[in-house]
């Protein structure tokens, strides 16, 4: 296991190098840089050149890249071209919010999807199954920002009331701080829940048709034991794989949901940084996200061995 882990970590290094090149280069390929956006149409004389020099954006791109990579290796993600605050400081404020939102969303997705998926598979082709499958299709088809908009606007129009909008600091009210995430996390988790539910159902149906399950039924075991003990563990491995992928999807969903619910997380920060061509911020966030996804996928792979004793890493 240790050897496997080491091997995976070594393999992750080229992935991170390639990712660093991509996150560094792509934002610079967009027309217009931070200086042009700062000055907009009101640049005067040599303003554009002067400011570009002041911010170090006139240096050759490879020098900028190696300087950045060197700083990253020492834990310094640079500072925002706009606010002059360090990217690490900004991420420190925002990452916990996005992590909590994303974490709650994935929990909601699992809590909703797995039981419904099991029920749908066990009661396949019944009314309950049809309802669950239809709901899943709706969940997959309807974008989360649309649901969020309706959830906010309709109560306001009907009753002059809105769900909690804005942000409450943990230090001011821990309860309110956590509660404010429930609705956005639930909405964010809907699409993931739909996907997970459908996959759980399909996998479980496949397992339920296998010979060893028929044997279990023939032995006279109770339904709960057959499904939960003998079938679910084998059915859930592809679901775990999907969970790893869903994390990336949920993170991208936070960009809009954080805006709608006024949560000052990383999604909103990234969105603003892209609009402002704030290269250090874009690079820092993307590198962090890539690292998180690499680590999560590694954890998912390791989880296989826990779920299925037949899988061994050597």
């Amino acid at each position: 296991m240790k050897r496997y882990l080491l091997k995976r970590l070594v393999v992750a290094i080229p992935s991170l190098i390639i990712a660093s090149l991509i996150v560094f280069t792509l934002p610079r390929l967009l027309p217009g840089d931070a200086v042009q956006l700062m000055l907009e149409e009101k640049a005067y004389g040599k303003d554009v050149d002067d400011l570009r020099h002041k911010l170090g954006l006139d240096r050759p791109i490879y020098i900028q890249y190696f300087t950045w990579v060197g700083n990253v290796l020492t834990g310094n993600l640079g500072e925002s071209l706009w606010t002059k605050r360090t990217v690490t400081e900004e991420l420190g404020m925002r990452l916990p919010i996005t992590m909590l939102l994303g974490g709650m969303a994935i929990c909601f997705a699992i809590i909703i999807a797995i039981p419904i998926g099991i029920l749908s598979a066990v009661r396949a082709d019944t009314l309950r199954d049809y309802v669950a499958r239809s709901a899943a299709i709706v969940g997959l088809s309807v974008p989360s920002f649309w649901i969020a908009t309706l959830v906010i606007v309709l109560p306001a129009i009907w009753w002059g009331w809105t769900p909690h909008l804005g942000f409450t600091e943990f230090s001011k009210s821990p309860g309110a701080h956590v509660l404010q995430f429930i609705l956005p996390a639930f909405i964010l988790g809907i699409a993931s829940a739909a996907g997970i539910m459908r996959l759980t159902r399909a996998m479980l149906l496949e397992v339920l048709r296998q010979d060893y399950v028929r044997t279990a039924w023939a032995k006279g075991l109770r339904e709960g034991v057959v499904v939960m003990k003998h079938s679910l563990k084998n059915a859930v491995i592809p679901v775990v794989t999907i969970l790893g992928i869903q994390l990336a999807q949920i993170f991208s969903g936070t960009v809009i949901i954080e805006s709608i619910f006024q949560l000052p997380g990383m999604g909103r920060f990234l969105f603003d940084a892209i609009l402002q061509r704030d290269y250090p911020v874009i690079q820092g966030i993307n590198l962090l996200v890539v690292s998180i996804i690499v680590v999560m996928n590694l954890l998912v792979d390791l989880l296989y061995a826990v779920l299925d004793p037949r899988i061994r890493y050597s």
Binding site: G32, P155, G160, T162, L165
Partner: protein, 546 residues
Amino acid sequence: MSDSLSRRDLLKAGGVLAAAALGPVAGPRGAIAQTPKRGGTLSLRLWDPPHFDLHQTISYKTNVLHTFTHSRLLKYKAGPGVQPGSFVLEGDLAESWSQPNDTTYVFKLRKGVRWHAKPPVNGRELTADDVKYTFDRFVNEKGNAYRSMMAALDKVEVVDKYTVRMTLKEPYVWFLDMVANPMALAIIPKEAVEKFGDLKKWEAVIGTGPWMLDSYRPNVGVTFVRNPGYFLPGLPYIDRVEVTIDEDNASRMAAFIAGKYDLGWEASGTINRVDWVQLKDTLKQRRPKLQSLEFASNQMSHIYMRTDKPPFNDVRVRRAISLAFDRQGLLDAVAEGVGVMNPAVPAALKDWSLPVDQLGEGAQFYKFDPARARKLLAEAGHPNGFPATVSYATYGSTIQVDAVQLLLKYLKDIGIDAKPIQQEYGAYISTTFYGKYESMAFGPQTPFLDPDNYLFGPYMPGELKNQSHVNDPVLSDMLIRQRRTADVAKRREVLHEIQRHAARQQYYVYAPSGVYIGVWDAAVKNYVPNLGYDWGGRLLAAWLDR
């Protein structure tokens, strides 16, 4: 004031001022008669600033917040006596000012004005040195894109502790307007810059204004608290201003319906007309006493084109484009049919703008007449039209996208087969906005409060904002002349002549502007909206009755 004004009435009146209310209108005048009350919290939706250094950004998001915390030498009058679109100068930090000659201005400062009681300034008295420091930093700071507003300034001298003399390189009659402009010259303390290196951090927001910045959280909000040492005794009345940063239209709309915001959530405390039409009935039920006032917007878009090369160097082609542009059709499609027609100076600046029907020969090109447009194109040697491109950015606005689509249709109708080139905002600003585009472009201008900024940049050869590449000696002469004409009536005549000339030449084809709907809670008394960023100025003498 009446709530029964029709759209036709509004347009007939030039859209400059019309009033409407959802419920019985107490009206601004009624508000003055009551005795002001101290206290309360005002809730607003504003924007998240990129940072707080007002000399290193042109963002309105930063400028608006500084109107609560900072003072300027001069400001524009605000309050129920002021009609939106009108800008009358009055002293802010300057008790009085004089102009001994064409190029010299002397400002006498109020005595006893104190900075906010915050470190490192700790409430010391404001002096002429602070004014000099601010102007010097404004002019010399790299990255201050607004410093062209002070291009005429030669030097600032401290005469004594309370007197500042400013000398210009050449006469520039708009100088006092630039000094009063809430976009630019809020007076800042040297100590804050020295302590923080610049003014980007919120802790560096220290002014002499009516409120003090109490807290800021990015993407969440800003809190201002009353400055007990404000130099105008008794003001402001409102104790606390809670600003929510809400970048999502659906959520701010819902929050407004639910009564969370006291003023409209868009520019100048307004509500977008499309939203307003959708919400009006709901608001009648939920917030029946809401006050509203309509006034023309100074946000003006225009078609610009490469007049330095064929086919747009032919005035007949430019006139044809103007004739093909169904301005009322555009308003019907994107602004519920309500708006005002703009000459080169937007109609909203009513002291300087010339009504379209008074544009003389140029007025005819504001009519929608595709048949005549085709005829003009044929005369110019393009009987079958020609291919072209229209570069634009969406600005994140569906209205802008709709407008461009309509424009393409209007052009197509006279044979100009224009290919749309949609650019991301950053790309647009760095190329098209600076005049780097193929043949045509369409987009909004910065909403200034003075005519000079609408005219000098776009029409003067060599200026960055000369997007249509205009090089017209007659126009250039008038542009310089208006800058040197101190007599207001004579200056107005020059400005009118510029607008007539521009209408004849159609270097830019101006789109109509919408009519803003300023909205505020009935509890907010002694308040009237106006154009511009000066939220703090307009709320200075407002008070809350709840």
